[in-house]
Symmetry: D2
Subunit: 364 residues, 4 copies
């Protein structure tokens, strides 16, 4: 279905080439000053046409907030919002009406619903993620009250991976380049690769990494709503996501317990900057133990496949099952990863705020 969250819940609607996309944010805590700057900043980070690395579709992505805010402050009532689709080139898709594009949702939507809006991918288009970024921005406004910060960046494009350990200084670099990699040298190589792949009419995959800092201990609701389970579901619901790992992730499969256990030590004089009794010397766990945050940084990574839409021709079938050639004329990203960075942050913020609110119910 089209809702995520329990106490803080986003419901989205909208097709790529319909009149508008949008959603409802329910359970936004009352009393939060709305930071319009932040909202539009996040939208700009996700919007198409922001650089030569992204689709040429030019959408301003102006968010119209329709409810739930009064005198610039959230009221606790649902926030309805709208983003008009102003620049669809639906004709670009006329030739795809009767085609099942390879590795797209055309076939599966047809099988499930018996009908689909084929224009621009319809509901399956990544355009839907704009609504997620809106909700993520509101969640970030609330999380800010608790000092919680969420930062994602491009950790890999094709076979070019960021090698260095992330530092505060590096984080500040993330938004300075179009690929959103915090190391400018690696970023330049990634951009190079994306442009070269684009030139071939091809696409390339990558990895987004995310870090949540100053997250209080105690968030997450075992046994099925463990924090990592909620994060995984949120991330795997993003278009083109193929994998999720947290802490040391898949690498832990090859390791020993004695190498990966995180040793507790006293948090002397609050050296971590919070009032926890203890903290851990290492963070292989990625800030979550037993499905509940332990106060260390929460770290996770999301793998994205190469965009399925290619500008070079591919064989496929039409909706009658006959072999045809498919070739995109639409405007598409050669690599989703740069624009996925703010989406990953948004989904993380949505999950975190929901979990933070439910944690209030844990004790009498």
């Amino acid at each position: 279905m089209n809702s995520i969250g329990n106490l803080f819940r986003l419901t989205t609607f909208g097709e790529s080439h319909g009149p508008a996309i949008g959603g409802v944010i329910d359970g936004m805590p009352a009393g939060v000053k709305v930071d319009t700057e932040l909202l539009q900043y996040e939208m700009r980070r996700r919007r198409p046409g922001q650089s030569n690395l992204t689709t040429a579709r030019n959408e301003a992505d102006m968010v119209e907030v329709l409810s739930g805010v009064f005198d610039g402050v959230t009221t606790g009532t649902p926030i309805g919002f709208l983003i008009r689709n102003t620049n669809p080139h639906s004709n670009d898709y006329d030739n795809l009406k009767h085609i099942f594009r390879p590795s797209h949702a055309d076939y599966t939507y047809n099988v499930k619903y018996g009908i689909r809006d084929h224009r621009g991918g319809g509901r399956a288009s990544a355009r839907e993620t704009a609504s997620r970024v809106v909700a993520g921005a509101f969640a970030k406004m609330a999380l800010k009250h608790y000092g919680i910060r969420i930062n994602a960046w491009t950790a890999q494009v094709g076979d070019i991976a960021l090698e260095s350990e992330m530092t505060e200084e590096m984080l500040a670099e993330t938004e300075k380049n179009a690929v959103r990699c915090p190391d400018s040298v690696t970023a330049a190589r990634m951009e190079q690769l994306i442009l070269s792949v684009k030139g071939e009419g091809d696409t390339v995959g990558g990895i987004v990494e995310c870090r949540i800092t100053h997250c209080p201990a105690g968030l997450g609701d075992p046994v099925f709503d463990k924090l990592q389970a909620r994060l995984a579901a949120a991330m795997m619901s993003i278009n083109a996501a193929k994998g999720f790992e947290y802490g040391d992730g898949f690498a832990m499969a090859a390791r020993r317990g004695s190498e990966t256990n995180d040793i507790f030590v006293p948090n002397n004089d609050g050296q971590t900057g919070d009032d926890r009794l203890v903290h851990t010397l290492s963070n292989h766990s990625g800030g979550i133990q037993g499905g509940i945050s332990n106060g260390e940084d929460i770290r996770f990574r999301v793998a994205f496949k190469p965009v399925a839409t290619l500008l070079k021709p591919q064989p496929t079938t039409d909706t009658d099952g006959h072999i045809v050639m498919s070739q995109a004329h639409g405007r598409h990203d050669p690599c989703v990863v740069p624009r996925a960075v703010p989406i990953v942050e948004a989904m993380a913020a949505i999950v975190l705020l929901d979990t933070l609110l439910s944690a209030r119910a844990a004790r009498i």
Copy 2:
């Protein structure tokens, strides 16, 4: 919280050393003949003490079904069930009462709830997964009506990975060795590694791979309940899981669209054995496109960390924040992967059945 699923929903309860664990299976479709053999078979696959690779705790894990079945057939009413804890050695844990074991849930449960049952890990113990296997067995009974089959196996232990592509013949080998790896040579090397690690008082991680065959196209509920999102949440809720990927997963980050797109071709004469109009030549997508199954095999992998409980001493803190040494006397698995195989299958079955039922609501 302790429920998973919407139309087919499992709720579990129980601590490792309490009187019993169990749960309620709600939404089990009526009219399914209960296969008691299958139920106990699945329980045996998960139960402790089954081989020298697993914990020595000896639990028969006899399931008492308390409701929802009449004359050997499911009635559509909730299935309450119970597994008595018959072999707890709670005294093994007395010395851990005031200790936060490294990379365990001791600290986080204390922070969240202010109290915890420390015996055997309490609610955070993997013993809870026995209830999941019960529900998974019932789900499998229902899925069988549609020919859907779910098979998981050990794909990696430490740095020993199964290299060969899985075949039907190999699948039949999975249950023939204690490590549940379908290739007997690799299995032997894995067993060797686990025993060696165990001898050192250490533990080791690994990877479980799962394949769902004969899954109809059309399952999954975008945009937030995409099939992969549901599977990811279910898998990441299993104890010690650190990563999830489906199809070609993380490897797709390094690939091009032209390499990973799955080309549709006509399903001439129903060569796939079902009545789909088309099928795909490759399956990099892992059987899911746009969050909906496409009728190809669903393939995914789950990474597990090394068990945190070590038989060799480690420093940590007590509940007052003082440094102490921790050493387990309890009975623990040196590697969770062999026993995780049936748990992964169970969680997959739970998700699949729930999704199959909700797919019935897609059209008028």
Copy 3:
């Protein structure tokens, strides 16, 4: 929260004097031809300013459908919709900004959220119900495929109650008078009463009765989602509703089992017009037994209190707790019942469709 339903789910947003109200309909089955006529007809039935019995606020209540429909047919994706507020007189409410109006939600919203949009009652305004009527219209389009029909009417206004048993002929009369009472003589008396009460600056309560015909047996999900429990929750969520009863309702408290049991008899030659094996001679049960529809007409009644907004002065307190006089200058209904009729139908349709979809999951 602001969502209702499980498989067919409505989420609403919007304040009375904000830019717009609207919502998202999720889970609308694919393949339903959208009946725009029906949609606008239902909106006209609920809209303000339709007669001298209702508020003078003049809203066209044009519904803008933003998604989920393609080529005039539902696609199974969420239906976002919007109704602009074109005729708010927010200044009418300036004097109420710091006042807790008697028996309104002013005080309770303030206590709960610490802030409220005071204009026109904000979120607590009955204007929100317009969104419910939109969803109800879509639900009706789907229910029509199964021949299910929902009709409500005004059964009581003040102390004037409709005495006669409802017939098909009478139902056809309901929409012919402004009060929506199917008996024209009683209707005239009711209108008289409402106008007289309105002249006094006062308001009056009433009862809406609803009948669902051709509802298949088997709908409802015991034990907590019994059909009557779902209907009760839906009805009691309507503004000003104070009571719900189904079948013979409260009157059954004074009766004997031998008087109120519904005797089963064979449905010879399908005399009921459906293929049930049996039917009942009487219908004290109101079409539901054990929480599940039995194929007879579903009958229930909803009591509405008099509107709290009076045009005559009343003492109350301001938001500082000081005694002040309150007098409405806004435009309000002297009696909600005539406009509640389509709202009751809408909520019934929403519940019915949701239940109909979930009933598909009952059996293997």
Copy 4:
């Protein structure tokens, strides 16, 4: 489905004549001392065989708590519990195996699920409510921390209604007679009526009234989870319930706004015993305005029909649709109302606690 509640959630299972009934209480706040006395007290109030007014089935209804409690204190983990069925007389029902008893759930369960456990009504038996009383007792333990008190009583049996306004002194009388009416004279007449009806092999309906005192203002989640909507759903899910009203309820249909508005006045010197700024002079609203508690007493009433099982013969059909005579040999209550009193309280407690926990999420 068989769960109720969001943050505090009860899931029940079990058939009347199966091995056991029971459930899982999820979201019980940690840190509550378990009051075993209270638990068994509530069970005794509901259990069969407690007086000559109730069924002769003799069940001790001993509750076995299986999890979620450690050292006598709740841990925040789910509370699994069990009540063995020790005194079923399943043979009493052999003759009903192929019969649809009038106004029972036999027919509807058969239609919905295609199969049913006919013994003692199976899942549709009121025996299921024992699990609700368990959860209600735990909820009451938590609510006690906030001083919230819930009291229900028998307000009507047949045509004998309690006329007097309820006082604190009267409340203390409720449990002193078998019928649970706080006025001893009226109680005696009610008992007389029930015994007389029982002598005739007949049954009789009635009304339970409930009052929640010291409930803080601010509970309830508009617009669909208004407090009255949640209470209505909970009450209407109880076996034999036919109607719900709160505050002045159905009587308000005949009243004027000027008669039923509740005027706010200053809460001088905290005369209400709490720290609200204001309170109301009257309480026609029943303690809820706009779907949110206002701090006044919450008052509601639930109508129950006469029990459908009669000891005198009635015509009906068998499962082949042939006319047969039906006559109960089982043990049944001639009137459910006395035993419904603790069930109504339990359901109210479940809703209240859930709402109290979610209210914590309303503000930043």
